[in-house]
Structure formats: C-alpha cells, structure tokens
C-alpha cells in the first residue's frame, strides 16, 4: 500500500503509439461530455484528469506531462462556458507534478496509484478553484465534502482504468 521510493535507474519509462496518445484523451473527453446526459452523477468523475495523470506518470517526462495536461485541459475548457485556461492551468500543474513524482517513486501498484490519484485530484481541484476565484473572479466556493468525495471516486476509478491503459504501454 505504501508508495515505494526507488532509484531513478530502477524506474521504467514507457512510451505509447501516437494513435493511443491522440485517441485516448479524445475518447476520455468525449465520454466526459456525453455520459452525463444519461448519467448526471458521472460529472463527479474527471476522466481527462485520469488520462493526464496516466500519461504523465508513465512517460515520466515533465515537459510532455505538462504539455499533455495543458492540451487536454484546454479542450476540456472549450466545452464549458467559462474562460479558457482554468482546466488548462490545473491539468498542466497536475501533469507536471505527476511526471515529477513518477520519475522518483514507483507508481505501478494499485495502492500507490490510489493514494497518488487522490492527491492529484485534490491538487487539481485546488488549482482550478484558485485560478477560477483569483483570476477569473468566478463565485465558486470550496466544498470539502464534495471535493474529497470526488477525489476519492476518481482515485478508485483510476485503479481500474489504469489497469486497462497499462496494456497500451510500450517499453522503451
């Protein structure tokens, strides 16, 4: 269950087929925007965030993690009516953090994934709220119960999702 710290040399770096890199985030964004029509509770999940973290952790490269988060976040922003960049900034920060941590600790086992994803989801929400309230002046309050619940749900889903996404990894 504990996050195991290993040496940099001991951590595998993975790469993905370009089709996977493009298609997986697109599918995640598509599902995120379509499924709540039939299942309103699905809005509690954040599939684009899970995909951002997965790619960032697997590649373990801070630049690609940040860029991936930035692009996914910007597209996600475009589906809302709020200013572009709220999700973009939040996911860029998470992408950077995930790839940084991915380069230092082993995040391949479900226990560590659960803890890390929970923390990343909270970090994402915190950055989003900070930017939304501080820069965009949006009247969004921080609801601890809702945010913690959402982070926990995303963390639980990440275990299942990452298990299947692992099959798309290619060793360098």
């Amino acid at each position: 269950m504990a996050v195991r710290q290993v040496s940099r040399e001991g951590i595998e770096v993975f790469q993905f087929h370009p089709v996977v890199v493009v298609l997986v985030p697109l599918i995640a964004l598509y599902l995120q925007n379509t499924l709540p029509v039939r299942f309103p509770r699905f809005a509690l999940f954040d599939l684009p965030l899970l995909v951002t973290v997965f790619f960032a952790v697997a590649r373990r490269n801070q630049i690609s993690g940040t860029v991936t988060g930035c692009l996914i976040g910007l597209v996600q922003d475009s589906f809302t009516h709020q200013p572009l960049g709220l999700f973009g900034i939040a996911k860029s920060v998470v992408g950077f953090a995930a790839s940084s941590i991915g380069a230092k600790v082993d995040v391949e086992n479900p226990g560590s994934r659960l803890i890390l994803m929970f923390c990343f989801a909270l970090l994402h929400n915190a950055v989003y709220m900070w930017v939304a309230r501080g820069l965009a002046q949006l009247p969004l309050p921080w609801n601890w119960g809702e945010r913690l619940g959402s982070a926990l749900l995303n963390a639980l889903v990440s275990i299942v999702l990452f298990h299947y996404l692992d099959k798309l990894k290619r060793r360098r």
């Binding site: 790469q15 709540p36 690609s64 589906f79 809302t80 572009l84 989003y128 939304a132």
Partner: protein, 390 residues
Amino acid sequence: MENFFTRFRKETIVAGILLAQIILLAMQVQVTGNTTADPNQKITLIRSWAEAMVAPFQRATIHTGQALRAVWSDYVDLRDVREENEKLNAEVNRLRLEQARYQQDAAQGRRLQSLLEFKEQLITHTLAAQVIGTSGTDLSRVLYVDRGSNDGVMNGMAVVTPDGIVGKILHADSNRSQVLLINDVTSGAGVMLERQRIKGVLKGSNSGRPEIINVMADEKIEPGDKVITTGGDGVYPKGLSVGTVESVTPDKERDPFLLIRVKPAVNLPELEEVLIITEMAVRTPGAMETGSGSGTTRAADLLSLRLPSAKKKVDETSATIGTATVTPVVNPLVPKSTDGKITAIRPTTTTTTNIQTENKSNAAGTDKKKPTDPVTVPKKQTPDGRDSGH
C-alpha cells in the same frame, strides 16, 4: 523519451514552439460571421475546433441510443398496452369534461382582459431539440443541443420544457447550441412568487439549487409556493413555471433581504429533450376568444405538442403553465399594441396565423416556417448571450 529528445532535439524544439504559438493563436483568434447566430458575437478558434470535433460523435451516439430505445419500447416491450389504453381513454373522457369547464372560465377571463386592455405574451414558435452533451463538470452547468443557427436558433433565446424553464441559449453554433442552465452560478432570470406576486431575481448556486435574491417579504413565503417568470428579463415569456419554494432563510450577505431556495420544476440534470422558443408575440386578447376554438394556442398546448416524451405529462404540466399564462401580468416593458394584433418580440418576423395548425405541421421540429401576415413591431429581446437578469 530522453533519447527521443536527444535524437530529434531541433525538431522537438521547433514543434514545441509551433505548438505553443498555435495554442496562443487559438486562444486569441476569434471566429466571426455565418457560423454563429449573432454576427457580432465571436468565438475562440479552439472552442470552435473542439465543438466541431466532438459534436458529430455526440449526435450519433445520442440518436443511436434513442433509436434502439424506440425500437424496444415501440415494438418489443408492449406489455400492458391494452390495459393502459383503456385507462387513458377514461382519463381523456374525464379531461374533456374538465376542459369544457375551463373553456368557460378562460373565455370569461379573456373578456375581462380585453376590457382592461391587458397584454399577454404568446409563444408562437418553438423548436424541439435533443440534448447531446454537457460540459462534463458541475462547475459549469451548460448543455449542448442539436440545433443551431442553421435551424434559426439565436443567442439569448429561452429554452423550456412543458414542466418549466430550463435556461437560455448562450452560444448558437451552426448545428448545435450551448444552453446555460438556470442553476448555473452565472445565470439569472426575472421571477415572481405566484401567490404573493413578489418579484425577485433567480440566480444559480453552486449547490445546483437556484435561489431568489433581493426579496423583502411583506407576506409570508412558505415552502411549496410556486415561482413563475415575470417576462421582464426579455428572455423568458411571462408566466412560465420556474419551480417551487424549497426553503426561506435570511440572506446573510444582503441583510434585510431573504434568500429563497427554489426547487426547479424541470429535472435539470436529466433532460433529454427541450424546446427552444424561437418566436414570441405580445397582444391584447380578443373579447370573443374562447380558447381552443379561437385559432390560437396557449403556451401549454404548444409545449405539450412538441416534445414526444412530454405526451405522458401533458395532463399535469399543461395546467401548470396554462394557468400561469391565462393570468397575464401587465409588463411595462412590452410595447402597446392595438386590440387583437400580435406584436412580435423575436428578431425574425411573426404572424397572426393559426398557430395550432402551424404546430401540428411542425411536429417534427425541423421546420423553419416563414410567416405571412404583417408584423407590427420588431424585436424587443437582445440576444447578446448575457443576462439582463430581471
């Protein structure tokens, strides 16, 4: 990945710079013109790309799911239909009797309205639309519908169901539109309590329950009191159902005022079909009008005719909206018109033709009927996508 960067260092840097510039460009460049409902309105390029990328798939998914459900419910799962039909026939007979009584009341009401020169708002044209997507987050309560400027949808148009109001068009693209729901924090509408006739502003909240602010109550407001639109915001027609009062508390931020939490009449998170009000009219009712026989259609009749899924709910919902509509409140913003004439308040032209006939011919919701009769006054509403609020 490190090897990749070492090997293709220059290419990577160039690609990175280009990508950064494309992103910056997409965030700044704005598209104008014929793809949007309002020629003056601009949309960022990245928003336009994202919508164009996902919309076809969303539409295909929703429509396929709908077709499969229709096959199941219309051909396969027909258990108890005969029994239900008998029950419905009995219900129809009961409602016919009730309708006859209401017609008398309505005729009397119109005679009085005519005498007092009351103005009433009529929904003359609506467009049925399918919900195909959402923002995907509770932090932005918007929906996407499969109708856009090509179908005559414009920014600022009201979106409703037979149960009540839903929101308004925030941005109409060529083939789809973004709807801002009434429970979003940036949303606003002019409303009043039906029993007390107290007016206020309906604002969205983070909890998803809209709230009425700026209300100082002289009369007691109780949970369960009905809330309807005032028509004064220039977006929603007067008298449409908004919801019921859920709780009344002192507003901590605005001390002498009350904070009234409203339970929306429409189940906002589970909407599948909506109606976009593309045309409204204001007129003084004729003294001899008798409701259904007059050739005009009340808001509730119109709404109930247009949504396939609403047919079941017609009985209960028509009463809600219908009651509100046949009791119009004088709106000081509405221009005066002569007796019996309709005053258009939509950007397009309007008509005094038989609306009921028009509805039936447009039941599929794909129509763009051009009116034929003269129009008195051009639009009052400003479809700028912003809330006039109240």
